[in-house]
Symmetry: C2
Subunit: 294 residues, 2 copies
């Protein structure tokens, strides 16, 4: 996520009631009664409000549980951490040896939904890094655990698999991060033990150095995140948007989704939200409407 000089505020103007609707009409749910009708942009509605979004989250954690249960019974030779120097095409992975099993998790919009912070974004407040810093330190009571995650952590405990948190929250707020994770039932979390924050191991937001550090000590059998960089920094190498999607679908990564690499939905912020019309919609899939006024 690029916080450089440019900050985008996705600002949806709802001109009238309901979503654009390909296909035939569907009997839509009646809108909630007495609550505020201030327009919420669709990506926020999807992730934080919808059953569809909750279902995707449950599905990811169900898949993770099934997968780690199987790996606990059949130890893999290799982890799911791409080895240093390896590309994503024909990727090589850090071997497991006889290291104890672990699962690496991103935190924001992977294990937790930052409802209190994101409600303000949905209302149109532009991103402000100082406010995010205050949120890290004081916002834990306005966070919820992503559906399915607590059950996954129960299973990890039963299987004696260690959860490792790799997050770009600030190391200056380590105590608050530990307390939040503990309070939510995802703990215990210990900075530089199983909690790795921004700048730990190497400067900057890249997560590979922290993954390699963890993989020295643990056999990382699965990883969960909402951004491709939660799996490999190679996805954040400079490349066109369409090429990055191809890499996710067709490299060694392609075979890992739901089978070692578990992706949670996040259309609200992050590295997925890039590209102009020509990046997102391939030139050979354009359509000239044969009829109508346009």
């Amino acid at each position: 996520m690029n916080k450089g000089g440019a900050v985008l505020v996705a600002f949806s103007l709802a001109l009238a009631g309901c979503a654009t609707a390909p296909g035939a009409p569907v009997a839509a749910p009646v809108a909630a009664p007495a609550s505020a009708s201030a327009a919420v942009p669709p990506q926020f509605q999807f992730l934080y409000g919808s059953g569809e979004g909750g279902a995707l989250q449950m599905a990811a954690y169900h898949a993770l549980i099934a997968y780690v249960t199987d790996k606990a019974a059949h130890r893999p030779a290799n982890s799911v951490v791409v080895a240093q120097g390896s590309p994503l095409v024909s990727a090589r992975f850090v071997p497991c040896g006889d290291k104890p099993l672990a699962v690496a998790f991103d935190v924001d919009e992977t294990l937790i939904d930052n409802l209190g912070f994101e409600a303000r974004a949905a209302a149109g407040e532009p991103y402000d890094s100082a406010r995010w810093d205050r949120w890290e330190r004081a916002g834990a009571s306005a966070v919820t655990v992503v559906p399915g995650a607590l059950h996954a952590f129960d299973e990890l405990r039963d299987l004696k698999i260690t959860p490792i948190f790799i997050t770009n929250r600030s190391a200056a707020n380590a105590a608050a991060a530990e307390a939040m994770l503990d309070k939510l039932g995802l703990g215990p979390a210990k900075h530089l033990g199983n909690l790795w924050l921004l700048g730990d191991v190497a400067p900057g937001s890249a997560k590979d150095p922290r993954r390699w550090k963890v993989a020295e000590r643990y056999c990382v059998i699965a990883m969960a995140g909402d951004q491709l960089g939660d799996f490999s920094d190679r996805f954040n190498d400079p490349m066109p948007v369409a090429q990055r999607r191809q890499l996710a679908v067709h490299s060694s990564a392609g075979g890992l989704w739901g089978k070692g690499w578990f992706i949670l939905p996040n259309p609200v912020y992050g590295t997925a939200l890039k590209g102009g019309i020509d990046d997102v919609f391939p030139a050979d899939k354009r359509w000239t409407d044969p009829g109508g006024q346009r």
Copy 2:
């Protein structure tokens, strides 16, 4: 999806470069070179352009393949079709008997991405049902198959499991729908055989009557869709947005996500996109910023 008198056009104004960015900076991919920089709303970027969206789609189809492979070896007593008259809490399912195995699929933004049509929506064109009708009849060349779906269909063929399409595309355009599915490698599709369109069996967009019709003849072991109504019409009963999300996560549905019910992401249109601030963000998860000017 409600097409009544009110149509929403989600219109994102990108005020500057990149997505709102909780957490620390990440080395973001360089934007694509010479392509048009017209702003694409984030929900379109996510679904059609991003590796994150493609990864979610691959994960869903990987989970479906693993699940049906297991069920082909261990026939279930019950289908995953909620029985007529059953609620979603403590749901009852249509029994399988010795009926041949099948998987029911929605089509739009489940098996296929309607790129040509949605590129126009992303550019700000309001939804127009007459244009959608022309798209059904003439747009097949600007459609792509969702990543992972073709591999899933290969597996279904190998396992001799019948794919059934239940879609709200128009019965007047049945021949075009059949031709499109055949051409994309998802066929053969035959209207009223394995392809069920809007108004088949019962008038209107509700899909349960078609599911029950199919379940008279097949043991439906899995279903795939991008809207909760692709699984049960009970999700479209009138209820507040937050209650609908709770139903998806905590009823019998909760245990089915990724385990019989396979959900594909779609933050671009549909029943997920409902709710004002109080619907989407629970009152007990609001946050008062302790610092800053606001």
